[in-house]
């Protein structure tokens, strides 16, 4: 299978100061195996776009603790204690966006849209310095699209061409991120033959996916454990 890689084979893709788009909400739908590898690769000083910075020593939290993240753009870092500490010491830049604005900005980045007007966050601290415009009698805030150098996403299944489907609420930011980066790495639980996923059901067409990594994690009760 042409796109399949071992996680350690991906190291040469990453360069200092790249902007990475990382899927997941909490750690559900996060490419844990790829992020484990990323924490060990040489490159760093990344700007990361992700809802949060992983959790409990898993996912992006591990990459952050390895000192590889300079800036985080996302919607919810409150649970990441070390990140808040680093931010208050000036060691980590944080750009906070409402979750829906984050999702929409990434979708726009992938769809060739330069920016958009949303009603969200009007009249709040997060609107400071941003253009307000009235369109057909409703007030909106201007937000720019977001693109990245590499997207690290997590899907449920890939077929051998790289077509992806997701599992329940682990879908979250992954389909948009798959469209918004120059290189897309998809971690999956299962690889199936071409044709096993119906053309009506495919969420991310194979043309968006550059590399596939088989996940080393399995779910057990209330957590993910490294088992493969």
């Amino acid at each position: 299978m042409k796109k399949l890689r071992k996680p350690e084979e991906l190291s040469t893709l990453f360069e200092d100061s790249m902007r990475l788009l990382v899927g997941g909400f909490g750690i559900s739908g996060t490419p844990l195996t790829v992020l484990d590898a990323l924490a060990k690769f040489e490159a760093g000083n990344y700007e990361v776009v992700s809802n949060n910075l992983g959790d409990n020593g898993k996912g992006l939290h591990k990459v952050f603790m390895a000192g590889k993240i300079d800036k985080a753009i996302g919607s919810f870092f409150t649970i990441n204690k070390e990140a808040i500490e680093a931010w208050s010491k000036g060691e980590l830049k944080i750009e906070l966006l409402p979750q829906g604005t984050l999702a929409e900005a990434i979708r726009c980045g992938g769809a060739g849209i330069g920016g958009f007007y949303t009603p969200t966050a009007l009249g709040t601290k997060l609107a400071e310095g941003k253009e307000v415009r009235e369109i057909d009698g409703v007030r909106y805030l201007f937000e720019k699209a977001i693109k990245g150098d590499i997207a690290l996403i997590k899907a449920d299944k890939a077929d051998k061409a790289g077509n992806l489907v997701y599992h329940s609420t682990a879908r979250n930011f992954n389909p948009m991120m798959a469209t918004a980066a120059k290189i897309v790495i998809a971690e999956v639980d299962e690889i199936v033959e071409i044709g096993e996923i119906s053309p009506e059901e495919i969420v991310t067409p194979h043309i968006y996916v550059d590399y596939i990594v088989k996940s080393k994690y399995v779910k057990q009760g209330g957590s993910y454990i490294e088992a493969r």
Partner: protein, 213 residues
């Protein structure tokens, strides 16, 4: 059985929901609303990508990828469907969520709320709160009326960071149900241990009584 304050608020809000409503429940007291909804045609949306959220699973059937917006495991109802975050917030901003039930730290006399920044802490998390405030057709705020130190959460003017210029429709507490009209706070229903006059005194500015239930 007498309900505690949080449960009472949840039950009062469940009674407000209409047949066919699409409802998003925030973290905290709003989450408790689910168990008081008796109408099978109320559909729960969770902004991480699901319409048709069911009750929590028993502990042998947890799928930690099937979660709500507070990252707690949930189940799905028969007519449920999944979608990505962009579609989900399109549903919210586009006015397809009939009711958002949200917790809050403060509500001002116009119905503007502050529900995302914690006093004296850096503001590093907002999640979907502002999208729900801006986008839901109706916003009901669910909270106890007083903070732990006894000061009212219903205030003349917000002291904490606003969650958006859009005003909420109702503020349901353990004492009364408030609505807002041009800076005037109207008590729509009163059911706690305080009289209207006592409420007014505790809150510290004039209210208007207009029971509409």
């Amino acid at each position: 059985m007498k309900l505690d304050n949080r449960e009472l608020i949840a039950k009062k809000i469940a009674e407000e929901l209409q047949d066919g409503d699409v409802v998003n429940l925030g973290v905290g007291i709003p989450t408790l609303v689910a168990k008081y909804i008796e109408n099978h045609n109320v559909y729960l949306q969770t902004e991480n990508g699901l319409i048709g959220m069911g009750p929590p699973p028993d502990k042998d059937n947890i799928d930690i990828d099937l979660i709500d917006a507070s990252k707690s495991p949930v189940t799905i109802t028969p007519e449920a469907s999944f979608f990505d975050s962009a579609f989900s917030f399109g549903m919210i901003r586009g006015g397809h969520v009939d009711v958002a039930v949200l917790g809050t730290l403060e509500v001002d006399c116009y119905g503007e709320i502050a529900n995302w920044s914690v006093p004296n802490q850096p503001i590093l998390g907002v999640g979907g709160a502002m999208d729900l405030v801006a986008g839901a057709k109706k916003v009901i705020v669910a909270s106890t009326l007083f903070t732990k130190d006894g000061s009212p959460k219903l205030v003349k003017k917000l002291t904490l960071e606003s969650s958006g210029e859009r005003k909420v429709d109702q503020f349901v507490t353990e004492y009364a149900n408030f609505v807002f009209q041009d800076g005037e706070v109207i008590v729509k229903d009163i059911y706690g241990s305080f009289s209207f006059e006592e409420l007014e005194e505790k809150i510290g500015f004039p209210l208007k009584l207009k029971i509409t239930k």
